[in-house]
Amino acid sequence: MAQTSVSKTREHREEHAISLRGTLASVFIMGIFLLLAWLGVFILFLARL
């Protein structure tokens, strides 16, 4: 009985599963861009000290 319930939940989840791999990759690319831009200006600050 308990097993049926677990498998039903899994089925339910799979039914609603959507792939957001592209979203994950996109936010990472955006994050790296933010970081690089920040680092670039910080290096400029250090170079001008």
Binding site: H16, I18, S19, L20, R21, G22, T23, A25, S26, V27, M30, F33, L34, A37, W38, V41, F42, L44, F45, R48
Partner: protein, 556 residues
């Protein structure tokens, strides 16, 4: 059955009285936009060394006109008009009479205020630039005009609140429609933010400008200005975010990713966008470093809801693309409706917000601020955020909002002109804002007319970039005039018909929205606590240990 219901929801039309009010605001906004674009062209060409303005027309008067009209008049009118239309659309198609009355009262007050301020700017009595920083002193009628503009916009907000209350009364226990919630949040943020500038203008600038008091506490006036100045940025951005969260999913044939995430991000903006003003004053003497540090920390926290919005939009696009059969990591990108101006103009704005946001994070850090402070980088930054992200989203909105309100249609030909307009605007901004950013890193100052600094070799080496900036300005002017042409066409000449007001449905996989996300007493109290933490001590300290008062200066 579900499709029939969805079609019925999408066929709701904003009724005549609400459409007239909304249209009055939107068209006034575009009139201001056209005037600001002319001023922008003159300013860009003069600053780039392409033309010399006649003696009777000061560069700084033109700059003030461009900044005030673009940053305050166009945006405020457009935003209130857009919100009135969307609140009407999502609460049954009309606005309660009380909301309309408040809306019209606010509109008239704003129009009178703008006329007063304009007369003073054109008369050369108010070339105090867009930030009207003391101790530069303008005519008192300029300050009264801007105060009327702000107070008028409060009545626009009261109109939105009144429609929201009426809906809540008729739907006890229900969460409000997402668009209406976002309009209420933005106008609440606006009420909180404008307290600062209202206090500055009414209690400091106007008495000082009339000569009732001889001097002004400059530090306090700037604190009050930036208490308002940063949330002003979010007052511009949140209507664009509203479009992205609510309207965009419908335009691309997708669904709202998560109602709860959308509301949570707006609440974070209400909480965090005000107690951050000192990051505009990092090089201001008189503010202890600890307080600057606190504001910088809070500024970094207000990045979070923008990152949430970015995640949400990628998810909306990917989900819609995959539902249309997209495969691979980025296959969904190709499935987006790139030939539809209602989508293309706003997404260009979204893309611009990635470097725009990166620039914002750079500006807000103390060390990086020392690199870019008072350079033209900052001008480039807000031309990316406001003049690209926000403006292009507003253009995208106008292409369906205006025909919806006037009972006309966006034709395929008008759509093509719109696409060209968006591309020209984006290209112009890439050239102008790009060269501004680069020049800023070289140390080129902002807020200055054309100068070669007595033919200093370093300053002369900037000239090609100044020319690129002016070229970008010319492209922007062309795109602005195309936009004005489209506004006229869609208001009076496009074929009659029904243009859908796109409102996205909540996605099937979205979780239920927690009720805390609409508990206004909790949200507003928290916002007040944060503001007190960030501002109470520095403001009291600045008044008790005031710097020497400054008499007014006329620099032009």
């Amino acid at each position: 059955m579900a499709e029939a219901q969805a079609a019925e929801v999408q066929s709701v039309r904003v009724d005549r009285p609400a459409a007239r009010l909304s249209l009055a605001y939107v068209l006034s906004g575009f009139l201001a936009f056209g005037i600001a674009a002319i001023a922008g062209l003159l300013q860009g060409l003069d600053r780039g060394g392409m033309i010399t303005l006649p003696k009777w027309l000061s560069y700084y008067a033109v700059l003030t006109t461009h900044g005030v009209y673009m940053g305050l008049v166009f945006t405020t009118f457009f935003i209130i008009g857009f919100f009135f239309s969307g609140v009407a659309r999502t609460t049954g198609g009309s606005l309660p009479p009380a909301a309309r009355r408040l809306g019209w009262f606010g509109w008239w007050m704003m129009v009178v205020g703008v006329i007063m301020a304009t007369i003073e700017i054109l008369a050369g009595n108010a070339s105090v630039l867009y930030t009207f920083y003391a101790p530069m002193k303008a005519s008192p009628y300029f300050y009264i005009g801007t105060a009327l503009l702000v107070v008028g916009s409060w009545f626009g907000g009261y109109g939105v609140f009144s429609a929201y209350r009426a809906w809540k009364r008729n739907h006890p226990g229900k969460m409000s429609p997402l668009f209406t919630f976002m309009a209420v949040s933005t106008m609440a943020l606006w009420q909180i933010a404008t307290i600062g500038v209202a206090v500055e203008v009414v209690l400091q600038l106007i008495p000082w400008s009339f000569g009732w008091v001889p001097t002004i506490n400059v530090l306090l006036s700037r604190m009050l200005l930036w208490y308002f100045g940063h949330p002003l940025v979010y007052f511009w951005l949140l209507p664009a975010y509203t479009m992205w969260y609510v309207n965009m999913p419908r335009i691309i044939g997708g669904k709202v990713f998560s109602d709860a995430l959308a509301r949570a991000s707006f609440i974070l903006f209400v909480l965090l966008s005000t107690p951050v003003g000192f990051h505009h004053q990092l090089l201001e003497p008189g503010i202890p470093p600890l307080w600057k540090f606190l504001h910088v920390m809070l500024t970094m926290m207000v990045v979070v809801p923008s990152l949430m919005t970015a995640f949400n939009m990628f998810a909306v696009f990917e989900t819609a693309g995959r539902a249309k059969g997209a495969t691979g990591l980025f296959g969904w990108f190709k499935k987006l409706p790139w030939n539809d101006v209602r989508f293309t103009a706003p997404i260009m704005g979204m893309i611009a917000f990635i470097p725009g946001g990166a620039g914002g994070i750079i500006n807000a850090g103390y060390q990086m601020n020392e690199v870019v402070h008072n350079t033209i980088w900052v001008t480039g930054h807000f031309h990316l955020t406001v003049a690209t992200t926000v403006a292009m989203t507003f253009f995208g909105i106008a292409y369906w909002l205006i025909p919806h309100l006037t009972g006309r249609r966006l034709t395929p030909a008008a759509n093509k002109v719109g696409l060209a307009q968006a591309v020209i605007w984006a290209t112009g901004m890439l050239l102008m804002s790009g060269s501004m950013h680069y020049m800023g890193l070289l140390g080129v100052p902002r807020r200055t007319a054309y100068t070669t600094y007595m033919n200093n070799p370093t300053a002369l080496s900037w000239m090609p970039l100044e020319g690129t900036m002016a070229l970008g300005g010319v492209l922007l002017f062309i795109a602005a005039m195309m936009m004005i042409g489209m506004v006229i066409y869609l208001t009076w000449f496009a074929p009659k018909g029904f243009q859908e007001y796109p409102i996205g449905e909540i996605g099937d996989t979205a979780e239920a929205t927690p009720r805390i996300l609409e508990r206004w007493p909790v949200i507003i109290s928290l916002a007040a606590v944060l503001i007190l933490v960030a501002y109470a001590y520095p403001v009291i300290d600045t008044m008790q240990n005031a710097p020497p008062g400054a008499p007014g200066i006329k620099t032009w």
